[in-house]
């Protein structure tokens, strides 16, 4: 007894290897259970938060919309979302009476620091963009983040012509297809417009002809 306490002053008593392995294994197991538990517990909330945010975003970029119908491009045709169809999705939007209004088109592309994910509302009738909302971005706080914090910049997308294409100008652009760049965040402003143009390029030719929009959800739709 006295001998062991004497040695422990200078060095820790030897620990069997299996104790070390067992300790770490046990800790790892408990940690795994905690993490998976937290994941399972939070998953429904996170999923419903995301769905709610998407709904809110769609209704925000297509002002007046009250119902939406996801539509999936399967590579050859655009159809109301069904269970086994995978592909990129846009959202047809309808007013409360179920009358078709326009599309909310998600798009993403490189920004100043990381990918910017946004969604914009497009009315095929007038060929105008009527709203834009940035869903995810890591642009510089105070500068690049004005792409969603600056009301003036966001306001540029409330009535914006898409033909021939959207352009960024410094100062005040008077034409309906011009967006004023944010001072100090020209790259972020250009990125947003580039993303919107790319979205238009890929989606506008795919949209169904006027009058052939899918019915609103619950009326023969999904």
């Amino acid at each position: 007894m006295s001998e062991s306490s004497a040695t422990s002053v200078h060095e820790a008593p030897p620990v069997k290897s299996w104790v070390l392995v067992f300790t770490l294994t046990l800790l790892g197991l408990i940690s795994g259970l905690c993490i998976v538990g937290a994941f399972q517990l939070t998953l429904p909330t996170i999923t419903s938060n995301k769905a709610k945010a998407l709904r809110a975003a769609v209704f925000e970029v297509v002002p007046g919309a009250k119902q939406m119908q996801p539509m999936v491009w399967d590579g050859s045709a655009l159809a109301a979302a069904a269970k086994d169809v995978v592909g990129s999705t846009i959202y047809a939007s309808y007013d409360s009476a179920g009358v078709f209004m326009g599309y909310a088109i998600p798009a993403e592309g490189p920004g100043f620091q990381d990918n910017i994910r946004l969604i914009y509302g497009y009315l095929p009738g007038t060929k105008r963009i009527v709203g834009m909302k940035v869903l995810e971005s890591r642009e510089t706080p105070g500068l690049g983040d004005k792409i969603y914090k600056d009301d003036k910049f966001v306001g540029e997308f409330r009535d914006l012509a898409v033909e021939p294409q959207v352009v960024v100008v410094k100062g005040h652009g008077a034409d309906p297809n011009q967006v004023d760049a944010i001072t100090g965040a020209t790259i972020s402003s250009k990125s947003v417009v580039k993303i919107v143009n790319a979205g238009n390029e890929s989606w506008l030719p795919r949209l169904p002809a006027p009058g052939q929009e899918p019915p609103p959800p619950g009326k023969g739709g999904l």
Binding site: A12, V15, V19, L20, T23, L24, L27, G28, I30, S31, C34, I35, A38, F39, L41, T42, T45, I46, N49, K50, A53, E136, R138, T140, P141, G142, L143, G184
Partner: protein, 215 residues
């Protein structure tokens, strides 16, 4: 008598982290979040709150487990405990406050490698009782919060003319954009380190003078 001494010792354990041994401005630990997420006051506070939760949880747990964890595997064990807490915080924050979660982004995951947490685990929790470790972690967490709040407030006021998103300086204020960019973080850190060092020096001078007079 003994309990009175104990209480004052515990109190000392708690308050030392806030000012005298402030983790950021005195011990100079945890520089990554201090520089990276303090471009606005709210980001700083949210980051500090998440860090504090992990710090308190892991300090308490490590202190409770300190007699069971063999010395040879203690670092790996601490990392597992800390990483678990961070992952749980990450999920919870995404569920409860998706907006804050989006703002802080990758920096939540980086709490795992915050050296304040590892430092307190190794230097304090592994050698002290759960009660003292808890108080130490709470104090250090508050000190970290204070530091990030000080950094974030000044940077936001100068760089954006606002505090907690509320415009303070009016539309004619020309913001010092550099303050919310990375160089502004370094400048601000330097200024605050200077302020804390000046306080410390003045206190020391006073003490020396008092001693001399007493002598």
């Amino acid at each position: 008598m003994a309990t009175g001494k104990d209480t004052s010792q515990l109190y000392e354990e708690f308050v030392k982290g806030i000012w005298k041994e402030n983790p950021v401005f005195v011990i100079v630990l945890g520089m990554c979040p201090t520089l990276a997420v303090t471009n606005s006051a709210i980001n700083g506070v949210a980051m500090a709150a998440a860090t504090m939760f992990v710090l308190v949880g892991s300090s308490l747990l490590i202190s409770l487990l300190r007699n069971w964890i063999p010395n040879q595997v203690r670092i790996s064990a601490y990392i597992v405990v800390i990483a678990t807490f961070v992952t749980v915080v990450d999920f919870s924050l995404e569920a409860i406050a998706p907006k804050v979660h989006r703002e802080l982004g990758a920096f939540i995951a980086l709490i795992v490698v915050n050296c304040i947490i590892m430092g307190r685990a190794e230097a304090f929790a592994a050698k002290n009782t759960p009660m003292r470790s808890l108080l130490d972690a709470l104090g250090m967490g508050l000190g970290f919060t204070l530091a990030l709040l000080l950094m974030g407030s000044v940077r936001e006021i100068l760089g954006n003319g606002s505090l907690f998103g509320i415009n303070l300086l009016g539309p004619h204020f020309e913001s010092w954009v550099i303050m919310i960019l990375p160089p502004g973080g370094f400048i601000m850190l330097g200024v605050w380190l200077l302020v804390f060092a000046a306080f410390k020096e003045r206190k020391q001078k006073k003490r020396l003078e008092a001693e001399r007079r007493a002598a």
